[in-house]
Symmetry: C2
Subunit: 445 residues, 2 copies
C-alpha cells in the first residue's frame, strides 16, 4: 500500500448511484414522516455538487457548525429495523428494461459499483425469479424427502431449525451473468454486466445429514432433484458427490437473519460454486434418484450453445472470474491523481490465489491486494493503487484460483465457446478510461 500524494483524484459515481427526484418520491411514498427533512437535504445535495469543490480555506462546511452538531437527533429504535441513509437511495437493485417480457420472470441486478468488501447487503441481493416471489408462510411450508430413501419424510421449518446448524460464506452467481457480453453488447455499467452476483453468510443444515436420517441409498442414488414451491416448478438435478461433500446446505439463514422472501424465504438450497439456478428457492422437495432428470431448466435453459451448434448440458460450476467494480462503466474520473482500483474475484472451484490488474489493456500486470478472509467459493475483494495522469487507459483484472486456472481473455474464451452462448461468460472485463475521465465498457480480445 503506497502513500498517495495529498491532492486526490475524484470520481463521480455511475448514474445508478445518484439520488433522483423519482427515487425520492418513490421512497417518500413508503417512508415515515420523520424522514421528510432528510429528503429535502438529499435533494439539495444532488442539486449542489459545488460542495465537492470545497477546500479547507473558506470551506463553508467547517466555517459554521452543521445542525447535527447543535440539535438533539433521532431517538434509538426510531427505526426498529434500520435502513440506509437517504443520501444512498440511488444505490438500489434495478431491472434491465426490456431484458424479459414479464417482470415476474426477470432479473434485478446488484449495484456492484457502489459496494465494498465481500458481503452483499441482503437488501441489494440480486433477484432471478421464474414466476415472481411470494412471502411464503413458514408455518405452512414443508420440505419433503422422497425417492431412493428408506424412510420418506416431511419436515416443518420447526423440525429443520432444531437440527445441527452450520454457517458458511459463499458467492452465488446466475449462470447468465455477463451473458449480454457474448454478443458484444457492451452494457453501460457493472451493475448490468456483472450484477447477477452476490455473497452472503448462509446458515442451515447440511443436506447430507437429512438424507442420512432418511436412509438414502447412496449406492444407487447418485443424483438428487431439488424442487421449489413457486409456480414455475423449478427443478434441478444435482450430483450426489456434491451432497456427500457436506457443502450443500438446506439454508434458512442469510447474513445473520432469515432469508429474504426474494431469496427463497423460508428455505433455499445452497450449492457452493454452482450457478444460482441450482440454489432452488422456496425449497419444498428433494428426491433421490439414479440418473439426471433432464428437467426443463436443465434441458432447454441453462445450457451452453457451442460453436458447432450443439448445446452443452449440465455445465453448472462457475469458473474463476473477476471484475473491477470501481472505476467502472458510467463513472467519471473528475481529475487526475490517486485512485483506488477495487473489484471482486471468485471461483466455483475453491479459493482465489491471486488477482492482477492491468491499466494498459493487458500488456503489463500488477498484483492487487486481496482483502481477507480469502474463502473457498466466496467473493474476494481486491484493491490496487493507481495514479491517473489524464491519459486514456484500459483497466482489466485477471484472477487465478487454487486449481491454477487463469481467467481467460475474450479471445481465449471465444476460441472454445464461440459467441452464441448466453451462459458462463467468465472473460476478463475491460473498462476504457478516456482523457475526459469518462469510463466505458469495451471488449478487448
Amino acid at each position: 500500500m503506497t502513500t498517495p500524494e495529498t491532492r486526490f483524484g475524484r470520481i463521480r459515481p455511475a448514474p445508478e448511484n445518484f439520488l433522483s427526484q423519482d427515487d425520492i418520491r418513490a421512497v417518500a411514498a413508503g417512508r415515515r414522516g420523520f424522514l421528510r427533512k432528510a429528503f429535502a437535504a438529499a435533494g439539495a445535495a444532488v442539486a449542489a455538487p459545488a460542495a465537492f469543490a470545497a477546500s479547507p480555506k473558506g470551506d463553508p462546511a467547517i466555517l459554521e457548525l452543521p445542525e447535527w452538531s447543535t440539535t438533539l437527533g433521532q431517538p434509538v429504535a426510531a427505526n426498529p429495523y434500520g435502513m440506509p441513509s437517504q443520501f444512498e437511495r440511488g444505490l438500489v437493485r434495478r431491472q434491465s428494461p426490456g431484458l424479459t417480457r414479464v417482470p415476474g420472470s426477470s432479473v434485478s441486478f446488484t449495484p456492484l459499483q457502489g459496494l465494498f468488501g465481500m458481503i452483499t447487503p441482503s437488501g441489494l441481493h440480486f433477484e432471478r425469479h421464474h414466476q415472481g416471489w411470494h412471502d411464503v408462510d413458514p408455518n405452512r411450508h414443508r420440505l419433503m424427502i422422497n425417492g431412493l430413501v428408506k424412510t420418506e419424510a416431511v419436515y416443518t421449518m420447526d423440525d429443520l431449525m432444531r437440527l445441527p446448524s452450520v454457517s458458511r460464506i459463499h458467492f452465488i452467481e446466475c449462470g447468465a451473468n455477463t451473458g449480454m457480453e457474448w454478443g458484444n453488447v457492451a452494457v453501460p455499467t457493472v451493475q448490468y454486466s456483472h450484477g447477477m452476483l452476490s455473497c452472503s453468510e448462509f446458515t442451515g443444515v447440511p443436506l447430507k445429514l437429512i438424507l442420512d436420517m432418511c436412509g438414502a441409498d447412496y449406492k444407487k442414488g447418485r443424483y438428487i432433484l431439488a424442487e421449489g414451491a413457486d409456480g414455475s416448478s423449478m427443478t434441478r438435478t444435482i450430483p450426489m458427490e456434491m451432497v456427500e461433500s457436506g457443502e450443500v446446505l438446506v439454508a434458512y439463514g442469510m447474513n445473520g437473519e432469515m432469508l429474504r422472501p426474494e431469496n427463497g424465504y423460508p428455505l433455499r438450497l445452497v450449492v457452493p460454486g454452482v450457478q444460482g439456478v441450482s440454489w432452488v428457492k422456496w425449497l419444498r422437495r428433494i428426491e433421490v434418484g439414479d440418473q439426471p432428470w433432464g428437467a426443463k431448466d436443465e434441458a432447454v435453459h441453462y445450457i451452453d450453445m457451442m460453436p458447432d451448434g450443439v448445446h452443452r448440458q449440465y455445465t453448472s460450476i462457475q469458473e474463476c472470474k473477476s471484475v473491477i467494480t470501481s472505476p467502472s462503466g458510467g463513472q467519471l474520473l473528475l481529475d487526475k491523481g490517486f485512485h483506488n482500483i477495487t473489484g471482486l474475484a471468485w471461483s466455483g472451484r475453491g479459493k482465489i490465489t491471486r488477482v492482477d490488474v492491468s491499466v494498459d489493456g493487458g500488456i503489463n500486470w500488477m498484483p492487487a491486494r486481496l482483502e481477507g478472509p480469502v474463502l473457498p467459493k466466496a467473493l474476494t475483494r481486491f484493491n490496487c493503487d493507481w495514479v491517473w495522469d489524464g491519459k486514456p487507459y484500459i483497466l482489466q483484472s485477471r484472477a487465478v484460483d487454487e486449481t491454477g486456472y487463469v481467467q481467460p481473455s475474450y479471445g481465449q474464451l471465444r476460441k472454445v465457446r464461440g459467441t452464441s452462448s448466453i451462459y458462463h461468460n467468465n472473460a476478463i472485463q475491460s473498462w476504457k478510461v478516456a482523457e475526459s475521465g469518462e469510463v466505458g465498457n469495451v471488449q478487448v480480445l
Copy 2:
C-alpha cells in the same frame, strides 16, 4: 455432529420474536400497499400456532397446493431495497424501557436470540447514542487532522474514499453490555442481557495512512483524540500503538454498503477489540497529542468502580466472552428431544480457540463446534448437540482466546471486580431450563 433421532424437540422463540398486532400496525403505517396481503397472513400465523403441530399424515399444508404455488408472484425489484419477511417483523431492535431518561441518549439492543452466523444484519445493529442520530449530509461532512502533525488537513468524504481501502470483519460491543447483571438484575432475555453486541465487515482507510500523510510526530504523539460530529461532542483518547498496528480504520463501509445513519454515516472510527464508545461515530476530527485527554467520556463515564471504591480508568479492551443465544431466556422448549445449542464467542485480544458448553451448571463441559472463519476480534458462532430429557438443566458456555485467557465465572469475576461496576462484565452466562421447558436467566457463581 451427531445424527439426531427423527422426532425433534421444538422451541418457541422469546417474546421479542413474536409478530404483535402493534408491530403489524407500526409496520403497516410505513409500508407500501402491496404488502397488505402479507400482514393478514402474518396475523393468521400468530393466531394459529396449531400449524406447528402438523404431522405428515393429514398435514393440511401438504394436502392442498398453497397460493404461492399456483399464482404469479411479485415482480423483480418490487423492493428496490429489500426487507425481511413480514413473518419476521417481531425480530427488531428494542429499547430497554426506563433504562435511560432520554431516548436520544439511550440504547437499542440487537435481538441475538433470533440471529445466525457471525454477521449482524445492519438493520439490527445495536444503537448507543449520546445525543441522538442524524442523517449527516456526506457532501457537507469533513474530517480534520490536527495536533502534533507537520501538515494539518481537512478531508472531504470524496478525498477519503479515493484512498487505499481495506475491509475487515470485527465485533463491536458496548463497554456496558451485560452491565445490568453486575447487580444481579436478571434481565429476561439475551437481547437485553447481551444485545449491545454486533459484528460487521467494515471498509475504510487505515488511520495510520492518513496520519503518515499529515506527517504525524509518532515520537511525541503517543495518543490520539477522536471527536464525533453529533451534539454530545463525544471524545475518546486512543493510544497510538493501536493506530500504528494498522488495525484502527476510518471507516465508511459496513456489510458491503455505506454505514447506516445510526452507526455513524458517513464516517466512524473502527477500533478492533475496544469497547464501542471509542468507535466514534460521525467522526469529524482526529487530534494527535502527547498524553491522554481525560475527556468526560473517559473520566466520568466508561470507568470501572472497583471493590475499594476507586474507579479504574481507560480499561477499553473487551475481554474474552461468550453467550448461548438459543435456547435462552424467555424461550420455551415445547418438547423433549434434540436441540441445537447455539451461541457467540468473542475476544478483544484476538481469536477464539475453543468454546465449551455445560448443561449441568458447570460440572461437566463438552466442546462446541466453531463455525469458520474464526477471525481475530470478530464474533465466532458455536453450535453444540443436546438431547433434552425433560429434566431441569442449567446451560452455560465458556470461551477461551488465543492468549489462553478463560472466560471467568461470576464468582471469579466478582472476587476481583466486586458488584458495583457497570462496565466490562464478561462472566459466564447461565440459562435455567425448567421441567416446564421455560428458559430463564439465573446467576451461578
